[in-house]
């Protein structure tokens, strides 16, 4: 144990002096996620706030053919700009970005309207553009509102109760809590947290294995009267230490970012405060030795720094797989999934964010499963270190 701590102390100190380790463990890893996340959420917020606040702009051609419709649209807050465009001109204008949405009212509109047969209007928009698609939907619903009010007037004029045309009344009841809605957005966050955890130990895992070999210090180390398990244990422990620091920094950064991102304006409440961050830390803690053992194990087989980097970049993606799987099949927290590391941490964190009650058993199973797998990997790593192929 004393030897293990000696190895730990040396690896910790040596990497504290390594700029590459520090950048990835203490800067890039923990800050990349929260910053990207903050930017993403702010952009989403800006978009939706702008859309509902700003008046809808519509280019209208042939406004004189339907003066009453034109007045109705203006009364419903649509900013109209009049133009005189044929259908092909309107298409070209929308495709070229000179106009967002064009409403064309043909000459025959008035005559057909008076006859009581469907009077055609053309709404030209680009549905591939997410911004104008929403505006076009708004224009369509305002036009629909006008049409149905005319229909009701026509039925009344003929002595028919307009309610007959509404046989079923559908009422939407949305049970999403403000926090629940936010979870869709916050789902990304759990991956960024796990990413930061792995990133924190990445370079130390490489440096203490492939780096040791590349530097030529491995053989001298292996010829010491020290059990290989102590060497491996000390190296994994040092990797864990950096991963914990990275995890703590990442969670702190997230708490800060959430303070500045006005989620409430979207009708969401962000349930990430210092207390939740501490719970997250506890949930992710068993994932730390697992990640450290996995990275050390993989890096032990590589010959050089570069080779180790290539393999470990793939390892960084490993925790995404269960999380991606979970979002495709929209899995909910359930005990049977707690045996899968990274997925169990993701589900538990999501539950905490949603303010759901988390079963204590689930937390224990998640921790035990991760730690058991970590132990298996540590034993395998130590076994590999005892083999003479380790010398390379």
């Amino acid at each position: 144990m004393r030897l293990l701590l000696t190895v730990f102390g040396k690896e910790f100190l040596e990497n504290l002096r390594d700029r590459r380790t520090l950048l990835s463990a203490l800067l890039f890893g923990p800050l990349f996620g929260p910053l990207l996340f903050g930017l993403m959420v702010s952009r989403m917020l800006n978009q939706s706030v702008v859309e509902s606040d700003e008046p809808l702009r519509l280019t209208i051609s042939g406004a004189d053919n339907a003066p009453r419709l034109t007045r109705y649209l203006e009364a419903h807050g649509i900013k109209l700009s009049k133009a005189n465009l044929s259908e092909s001109e309107a298409r070209a204008a929308v495709r070229g970005g000179r106009a967002q949405i064009v409403l064309i009212i043909p000459k025959e509109y008035g005559a057909r309207f008076t006859l009581g047969v469907p009077a055609p209007v053309l709404l030209v928009a680009d549905s591939a553009d997410s911004q104008t698609r929403k505006s076009a939907e708004r224009a369509r619903s305002i036009l629909g509102g006008y049409a149905s009010s005319i229909a009701q007037l026509r039925l009344q004029a003929r002595g028919v109760n307009p309610l007959l045309t509404v046989p079923v009344a559908v009422n939407d009841v949305d049970v999403a809590t403000p926090t629940g809605r936010a979870v869709v957005v916050l789902g990304f966050m759990t991956y960024f947290v796990l990413f930061a955890v792995l990133m924190g130990g990445l370079y130390l895992a490489i440096d203490s294995t492939a780096g040791e070999r590349e530097r030529g210090s491995l053989e001298a180390l292996l010829s010491l009267p020290v059990a290989r398990s102590s060497l491996v244990g000390g190296k994994i422990l040092a990797t864990c230490a950096y991963m914990c620091i990275s995890l703590a920094l990442s969670l702190t950064a997230f708490v800060c970012v959430f303070r500045f991102v006005p989620l409430e304006r979207l009708g969401m409440s962000a349930n990430l405060n210092a207390r939740t961050a501490l719970i997250f830390f506890a949930i992710c803690l068993p994932f730390v030795p697992l990640g450290a053992a996995l990275m050390t194990f993989v890096a032990s087989f590589t010959r050089s720094y570069r080779e180790a980097q290539t393999y470990l970049t793939t390892v960084l993606l490993v925790p995404t797989l269960p999380i991606a799987f979970a979002s495709i099949y929209s899995l909910k927290t359930q005990s049977s999934l707690m045996f899968i590391p990274s997925l169990s941490q993701h589900l538990l964190m999501t539950s905490v964010l949603k303010d759901e009650t988390v079963a204590a058993l689930d937390v224990w199973v998640s921790a035990a499963a991760s730690l058991a797998l970590a132990l298996v990997l540590m034993v395998l790593t130590a076994r590999h270190w005892r083999r003479e192929t380790m010398l390379g």
Partner: protein, 243 residues
């Protein structure tokens, strides 16, 4: 004392070491001489226990390296072929790390490091980080690292590689000093002059086998050659090594 008894090692189809036996005695410098790829490193690696022999036995001061690896290694200082340092640690920290792993701590470690610093002339760079060290400085630190636990036996794998004339002379003085202290010094080399100038005994290895094991003088006498170089060529020629 380091003893190799009938050591054999094969890597796949290649027989790297074949039935090698020799003894390196205390108070003597033993040279393991052979061309590149003759099996010197494999031999030494089995002696300090990072390779397991397919057959045969290696022991340090009578302690079996396979049976009681840690105990045997405590009697052994090793300077491997690739003697890299930790660049982000100072020379002192490099030495202290190995000292701690050898079970030395506190005042004993400090005074031993101070002693080695003086003997090896490392005063000017002992507190500097090892990143920009010259080859000579690196070897000194690696040697100090191997000697920090005051071992009775020292194994060095081609220690003079890449050293300049001054550094080689320093190393030679250091090895003679270790011999004078009654330690067992075993080193490998492919440079004849080096072995001739330094060694009491020479073990010549070719194609994994011991071709000669005697004092420098007796090899020269036996072959009737004027220099060890000629004797070396003759020994190799006798066994068909050169054909």
């Amino acid at each position: 004392m380091i003893e190799a008894a009938n050591l054999s090692k094969r890597f796949g189809a290649i027989e790297a070491v074949r039935d090698v036996s020799f003894v390196a005695r205390d108070g003597e410098i033993t040279g393991l001489l052979g061309a590149n790829g003759a099996g010197k490193s494999t031999c030494l690696r089995m002696l300090y226990g990072v390779l397991t022999p397919d057959s045969g036995r290696a022991s340090v001061d009578g302690i079996d390296i396979r049976g009681e690896t840690s105990k045997a290694r405590a009697h052994l200082g090793v300077l491997p072929h690739a003697a890299g340092l930790y660049g982000n640690l100072t020379a002192r920290e490099n030495i202290h790390y190995f000292g701690s792993l050898q079970g030395i701590a506190g005042d004993r470690l400090r005074s031993r490091t101070a002693e080695l610093t003086r003997i090896l002339g490392m005063e000017s760079f002992i507190e500097r980080r090892a990143k920009g060290f010259s080859q000579g400085q690196r070897i000194k630190v690696a040697l100090a690292r191997a000697l920090v636990h005051d071992p009775g036996n020292i194994v060095l794998d081609e220690p003079t590689n890449g050293l300049d004339v001054m550094a080689i002379r320093n190393l030679r003085d250091m090895l003679l000093e270790l011999k004078a202290q009654g330690r067992c010094v075993l080193f490998s080399s492919h440079v004849m002059q080096e072995v001739a100038a330094l060694c009491d005994r020479v073990v010549i290895i070719g194609h994994g086998k011991v071709l000669a094991d005697a004092t420098v003088q007796s090899i020269q006498d036996r072959s009737g050659a004027a220099s060890l170089e000629e004797a070396f060529l003759q020994v190799l020629g006798d066994t068909g090594e050169l054909s």
